[in-house]
Symmetry: C2
Subunit: 336 residues, 2 copies
């Protein structure tokens, strides 16, 4: 490993994994952390809980479809939901640059409250630090979240098995392209805004109907669906085959990707999820998702196979096959 932190160590891709595996995991070593899911499953006072955290450093702070506050609530709510939990409580830690406009802070906390209301969570504790001009770029927010694991639900990469279908909840890349276009002054069709949304309601609807038919849920944020699926293939030691023609990408997102050389499979999403489901439940889960505002465009994009263990293959639109690796490098720093 390089001796200094590079931007790619925060990409969510290969270098992020290396850093966590080589520095954090050996130091913190414990069973809950070793599961390496979006959140930890723990027991406290007899309750089965999920606990997770994320810091948000997105640039710019306001963008089409959301802002850092909405992102900070939805991101952590979604990490809890992906463990099979009902999110209940959030914390909010603000690190603010001296000179930051208080009106902007007001807009952001109001946006947090609105997202929290939609997600059914309360922001119950917080902290504010102010640092001198230049010691932070405007405002960063950390949220941590606590939820209660749904009874009878066991979401874990261990349960991924050949034959399961992989459902994607909707088009990919919207968040990354929305941020990108704000940052570079590109004009996009109004249809392309960040997909930032709380998925807890959709997850609860699925898991209540099919408590033991879902092996894993994951929201493909940094690193995109290619990185998330590689993580699962590696953890479960299964193969994953994707059908490129089945993966929904909005035309405007595809167009920006072609111009700028991005691959949508590696772009961050903030309101999408992948569902690994036993085939016998696929239709039922799809019907539930399609009936929900955040799953209207859900569809099966691939399936789990026995081989090649630990790898993700893509059948391309022109009929070829290529292996998808994790994100290497960093397409878009500070995307969330």
């Amino acid at each position: 490993m390089s001796e200094r932190i590079q931007l790619a160590h925060g990409s969510g891709g290969k270098l992020s994994h290396d850093l966590v595996r080589e520095v954090m995991l050996p130091a913190f070593a414990n069973a809950a952390l070793a599961e390496m899911h979006d959140g930890a499953k723990v027991t406290a006072g007899g309750a089965r809980l999920a606990f997770t955290t994320d810091s948000y450093v997105v640039k710019p702070l306001f963008f089409a479809g959301g802002d850092i506050g909405k992102l900070a609530v939805c991101g952590t709510v979604n990490d809890l939901a992906m463990t099979g939990a009902v999110p209940l409580y959030l914390s909010a830690g603000f690190i603010i640059e001296e000179g930051f406009a208080i009106d902007d802070l007001r807009r952001i906390v109001v946006s947090m409250r609105r997202a929290a209301d939609e997600a059914g969570v309360a922001i119950v504790t917080g902290d504010t630090k102010v640092v001198e001009k230049g010691a932070v770029d405007g405002l960063y927010i950390n949220t941590a979240g606590v939820g209660v694991l749904l009874d009878g639900v066991d979401i874990s990469p261990r349960r991924v098995r050949p034959g399961q279908d992989i459902i994607l909840s909707g088009p990919i890349g919207d968040h990354a392209i929305a941020i990108m276009s704000e940052r570079h002054g590109l004009t996009l069709p109004a249809s392309v805004t960040s997909d930032c949304a709380p998925l807890a309601g959709l997850v609860k609807a699925i898991l209540t109907a099919v408590p033991d038919g879902v092996a894993v849920l994951r929201d493909p944020t940094r690193g995109g669906i290619a990185t998330t699926l590689n993580e699962i293939a590696s953890q479960a030691q299964v193969g994953i085959f994707l059908d490129e023609t089945a993966i929904p990408v909005r035309p405007a997102v595809q167009a920006v990707c072609e111009i700028l050389g991005f691959d949508p499979l590696y772009l961050a999403n903030e309101g999408k999820m992948l569902v690994f489901v036993e085939q016998v439940f696929t239709e039922q889960v799809l019907n539930i998702m399609n009936a929900h505002p955040y799953g209207r465009e859900a569809r099966v994009i691939g399936r789990v196979t026995a081989q090649p263990a630990g790898q993700v293959g893509l059948r391309t639109a022109i009929g070829g096959m290529r292996l998808l690796d994790m994100l290497v490098g960093d397409q878009l720093p500070r995307i969330c």
Copy 2:
């Protein structure tokens, strides 16, 4: 309120309170937050939990008696302990500047693990963001924590009543003066190092012995004991009288304060606590504290009175009386 964030909005003093009261509380409004304690008390899956968060932006990252990692673990452990909880789980969110030395990161996470082991908590979930050079000053860490509230214990400013004694666990100002001297290259006696320490064991010993004799526990961090006691006097609408001669301050800390114009009553501590105890239990609690490494120098420094409601008075060493206000302005930015 000024229209832009000032450093003093992060001081833990008056402007911090104004910001929270005028911006965060109205937006997030809920009962758990309104309690305004070091952590929120919540119920999840039938369990009575404490939940809290803090971000750490201390400068420099390494100092006599600790580092940002130890601070990030102890600070959040202590906030949980002050609610009357046994801390169990921590999250860790890192925001790292591009170019940061990975060896320094290793030292910091090892230090976090060591502090977590001493406190009896596990770091079970985390997040790492990397921002470009200049977008953060080295490394900031957020920790959030979850604990289980001790049975039969109800720590709350509502329970503060005239006649209760106020115990301080040891000398004040060590952390602030240790940071200060690192920052300015001052040479101090080896006895003055940060007091950064996890107080969960001490709290558990007290509350197990005297579950209903303690009204409030608080660790006087940013803003010092003067600010913390003002918060309690205001929340409980009681008077607080302190005896200056009873408040322990190390001679070297006192000397630096006199040279630089600091008042130790407003300096941050990271391993001290204030205990509001019914007088009938004072001796028992003092004995427990004095037998513990982090309470050896504990003593009664004042008492609760009916009047003047909401105010803190100090009987000075020369026999006068003065009112202590909350910290106004910011003596030492980025102290934690």
